[in-house]
């Protein structure tokens, strides 16, 4: 081997060109990217992709808030997740923040459950009354002059309202829905 050729060999201290130019794909880089067993690496990557698709597509659906109806609990543009398995073992309870489906789950309403089936509900100056008693709602920081006469909820209907009672009642979507509308419970909210 001539001296000139030896100088161009990988790692030779006297090489004029950097090693990565002399050898386009060094074995080390290949090992770092594909691993020592490329077939197993492919299986691992495929498993990760499928797992991410199932988890974030069906079990823990990411939702970005838009609007101010849940202020201050949920800020406009905040990212939260919907746990779709939350109500498999038990039904929702009062105070849960849930996602409600529209035609599907790509766009959902995020509201808080404040009234349970069969209860009498009313709103006076932004304060919610359940079966005649005022409901303690520490999450409601701002109250407007909302007034709704007392009404009894149906046997299968929950009452959903956002936490922002300062906004105009006509701009705030609230009302009753059946459990089928509930996609799941909101998790990972900031405190």
């Amino acid at each position: 081997v001539s001296d000139e050729r030896r100088r161009l060999e990988i790692g030779h201290p006297s090489a004029r060109l950097p090693a990565f130019l002399v050898t386009p794909t060094p074995p080390l880089a290949r090992r770092l990217i594909f691993g020592t067993r490329p077939a197993w690496t492919a299986i691992r990557v495929a498993t990760t992709v499928v797992a991410a698709y199932v988890v974030f597509g069906y079990l823990l659906i990411p939702v970005r808030g838009a609007g101010h109806s849940m202020t201050p609990t949920l800020a406009d543009g905040e990212l939260v997740f919907v746990n779709t398995l939350a109500y498999i073992r038990h039904p929702p309870v009062r105070g849960d923040i849930v996602a409600l489906r529209l035609a599907g789950t790509r766009i959902v309403y995020v509201k808080r459950i404040v009234g349970m089936p069969g209860e009498r509900v009313a709103i006076e100056n932004g304060t919610l009354f359940i079966n005649g008693g005022a409901l303690d709602e520490p999450y409601v920081k701002y109250r407007g002059s909302w007034n709704v006469p007392e009404v009894t909820l149906g046997a299968d209907r929950y009452l959903f309202i956002g936490d922002n009672r300062a906004m105009s009642i006509r701009q705030h979507d609230f009302g009753t829905a059946r459990l089928e509308r509930v996609v799941g419970r909101i998790v990972w909210l900031r405190e």
């Binding site: 409600l100 529209l102 035609a103 709704v148 009452l159 006509r170 979507d173 009302g175």
Partner: protein, 175 residues
């Protein structure tokens, strides 16, 4: 084994191609196309008047039945007839700096007669007002389409109440 695998792959490919062709020629794709065209006709990134606006609205006209009824839900009143719908669309195009309409989670059901179809979809409307403020509205819609002379046209659009008002007259009383 190799031969069997090759035959299985060939059969799968053939089934996929047949399924794809059927979908391509079927009514569902045409109906989805109608919704995409409607969204495109109404959406704009800058206020449009003149020829560009007229061309966009002309495209919308082809998607609507003459006796179309649109009930977009509160706070908007019902719109009856294609002309009224076109006027409403023109108002949106000229009156808003930017408006983006999109249909998501679309489910199409075509009746056995092949003439009627129902679409359950979510309308997502992004609006920018003159002050530059952006707002987003979303509502579930039930769209009924008819096949007239081989073309699907929208016969009615009705907003679905995701949250039923707790009393029928209560909210309007307080407005």
């Amino acid at each position: 084994v190799n031969r069997l695998a090759r035959i299985a792959i060939a059969l799968l490919l053939a089934a996929a191609i047949a399924g794809g062709y059927r979908w391509w020629k079927g009514p569902e794709r045409q109906i989805r196309r109608v919704l995409i065209d409607v969204a495109r006709a109404v959406s704009h990134e800058a206020p449009q008047q003149g020829l560009a606006g007229v061309a966009a609205l002309a495209a919308l006209q082809d998607q609507l039945a003459e006796d179309v009824v649109i009930e977009p839900g509160q706070p908007f009143g019902p719109i009856e007839g294609r002309d009224a719908a076109m006027m409403a669309a023109a108002k949106i195009r000229s009156g808003t700096p930017a408006f983006n309409l999109e249909f998501v989670d679309t489910k199409v059901s075509v009746a056995a007669d092949g003439v009627n179809a129902t679409v359950d979809t979510t309308l997502k409307a992004g609006l920018q007002d003159r002050a530059g403020q952006s707002s987003l509205d979303a509502r579930e819609l039930l769209v009924v389409l008819l096949n007239r002379n081989g073309r699907w046209v929208i016969r009615s659009v009705r907003a679905v109440n995701v949250l039923e008002p707790i009393t029928a007259g209560t909210r309007s009383q307080d407005w």
